[in-house]
Amino acid sequence: MSEQITREPPASAAKWYELFSRGARDWLRHDAKVREAVRRHLPELVSGGELIGGGARTVRVPVKLLEHYHFRLRRAEERQGVGQGQVKPGDVFVDPAQGGAAGGKGPGGEEDGEVQLLLELKIDDIVEWLWEEMQLPNLVPRAGPSQESEWVREGWDRRGARSRLDRRRSFKELVKRRGAPGALPTFTDEDLRFRQLARRRRPAVRAVVFFLLDVSGSMSERDRQLAKTFFFWTMQGLRRQYRMLETVFVAHTTDAWEFTEPEFFQVSGTGGTVASSGFNKVSETVRERFDAAQYNVYLFYATDGDNAASDASAARAALTALAAEACFCGYVEVAAGHSRHLETETGRLFAELASAGAPVDSCVLAEFDDVWGAIRRFFAAQQRAVEGA
């Protein structure tokens, strides 16, 4: 008779096994790999423009489970198999593996019933990764004369609100007073220490960014989509840096209007182009609502560059005035179809200003892939402009 070794797990064992689950460990590794892959392809993923929604702070990216590849035979058009049941040769019935009427071939993943993973990513995380991944420069804010104050923790006192009692510190006092080890006496009021707060003033770092979009008839749907994608990620990048970032969305044709964020990303229009109307609207808003001494003012202007000839001098005057007040003005020429980049009316205007030493820069957006190049360029140019000033 053989020896018997039998074991019954204790009731807690199930929990224990789950804690050290190898399957879960390897699953987490898979998860990390997926995130890594998503992160590596993020610039392509996010420049597509589908992610831009109003206000949501997370995006959901559907991803397939990773496949560990093996040598496999090509999918045959027909497969042979063996079944069991009461049938006669020549019987024909619907293949349940094909999902009934669907018929034909569904590409990929024949053997496993397609499990999709919905990866939820925080926009803040995405922006953080992107800035790291693409080594985008940070903005250099211009500290204005205005001050903001905040409360910071500073020192301890024997009196204070009960909620600010520092137990660790108080206990140390108790030990100090007692001197030698042994049974500790009880606390006295002498021992108690409360955290104190002090008011600190520091230069305000506030920013307002104007997104000015040409929505005239010459801007195609794709042009607008390009511009909005660029605006969206620029805005995320600025938000990353400023605690208080105000955004103003202005669209113009021959006239200019301000929009709210969700409306702005939906807006479209018709008619001619008068750039000065947009610049004037921005200047007006700065004067009315944002003190240029207190705010870092940024302007990003997206257009196809065709400005009405009659508007040339008005646009120059308006933009020169604006550039004097703003930290930085970025000009994005969305030119999906054009070949001569920055040779346009507005393009020349910005080039003129740049050579005169104003903090402006221009860039061309022809493809969705150009968005990141444009952002990098503007952020670097902005840094130079501030350092040069």
Binding site: S2, E3, Q4, I5, T6, E8, P9, A13, A14, Y17, E18, S21, R22, G23, A24, R25, D26, W27, L28, R29, H30, D31, K33, L65, L66, E67, H68, Y69, H70, F71, R72, L73, R74, A76, E77, E78, Q80, G81, V82, G83, Q84, G85, Q86, V87, P89, G90, D91, V92, F93, V94, D95, P96, A97, Q98, G100, A102, G103, G104, D112, V115
Partner: protein
Amino acid sequence: MSRGDWQSYIPRIEQLARGLGLEFHPVEFEAVPDAFMMEIAVYGLPVRMPHWSFGVRYIYQLIQRHMGHSRLFEVVFPGNPGHAYLAAGNGLAENILVTAHVLGHADFSRNNLLFQRCQTQVSERIVEHAAQHARQIQQAIETHGLECVEAVLDAALALEQHIDVDQPLRRPRFPEYAEPPKALADDEFRRRFAALEPGTAGAALASRQRAPLPPHPERDLLWFVAQYAPEMESWERDIFLAVREESFYFYPVFATQIMNEGWASYWHARLLREADFIAQQAYLDAIKCHSDVVRPVAADEEVALSLNPYHLGFALWEHIVAQEGLEAAFAIRAQDDDFAFIRNHLTRELAAELGLFRYRARDGKIRVLEQDVDALHEAILAPKYNFGAPTVLVRRVHTDGTLELGHDHALDRRGLDLERSRKVLEYVQRVWRRPVRLATVDQDGAEREISAP
């Protein structure tokens, strides 16, 4: 009824089994939580090396379990002693059945020649070996970093099925030089010939020829890469050889599945029938459980498009024992694998009785084909050839270190999936560290070569 009760049945069931002629090494029974059972099903071994691909299988398994598709009663590992893990959630009747089933497996793995051959190579303690590999790989991760080790495992596990079980596990390298040509007979003709042309006659004997690498197309890819990769680190070789050793263990399990499950099912049914010490109710419950396991088609369907190996094996063994007697059955369980078993014992009459049929699926339609017992055998066995993998061979290592692989598409009857194969080449290239090429055919039968990088 306390859960521990089933353990008191073990010695009696064992005694009964021995009395009927089963021979097995002692088996350690252990009841484990369901979560652990599921992991064994995913990894194939109780403790195995970490790799993210197991995580993917784990999720599929979790989903299946949530949908109520799969229920695991037991997993048994052959060896001396054998290890049997029983789900802690099993009831008494299920555990009695499972105990008898495990003894059937234990007898099979001890006596089947394929199992024996692989076990003498891998040793009878595969469970401990696999745990040792896992520890070794964990140490490699600590020394060389997760990314490096993972790259090696990606390649090794992708080639998991590409071994040659006809070669020994510890296999010597190929001879470096070609066999010297045989010395020519020293006869009258030779002497006269040498006298005529003194320069040429003896010269061929002197020079040694370097053997081509490999001397013949080689299908043991894991071994070949581990032996001949130009710049492989020794710890990387160890990982390749660890994966290969585990594949040697898995091969007989894979190649005798129908026989082995059928044998265990035959014996649990027979042992239960002959065990007079089991209470009536427990017996009925156990038999109910048995018929769930060996039923050919799901309860709510009339036709199944895949075979239940438990059912097929069980039916074949019942037939063999009835026709040829127990002694003949014992001989067959020792000598056959699934290929021999199906071809020799699945007769036309039995196939008709079981309602087995071949079908062809195309464009969402399934057409039942003519009865033909030889074609039926081949259709059942087709997915089992070559460890279930396409036949990929090492054709040549070039002087610049390029590894040239070839796919035997004539044997497999169609080409490889090019996208997947390219990914596998990328895995392999990272450990081979020289270009890797592979020739196969596309859907039109035209030669295609893919390569990495």
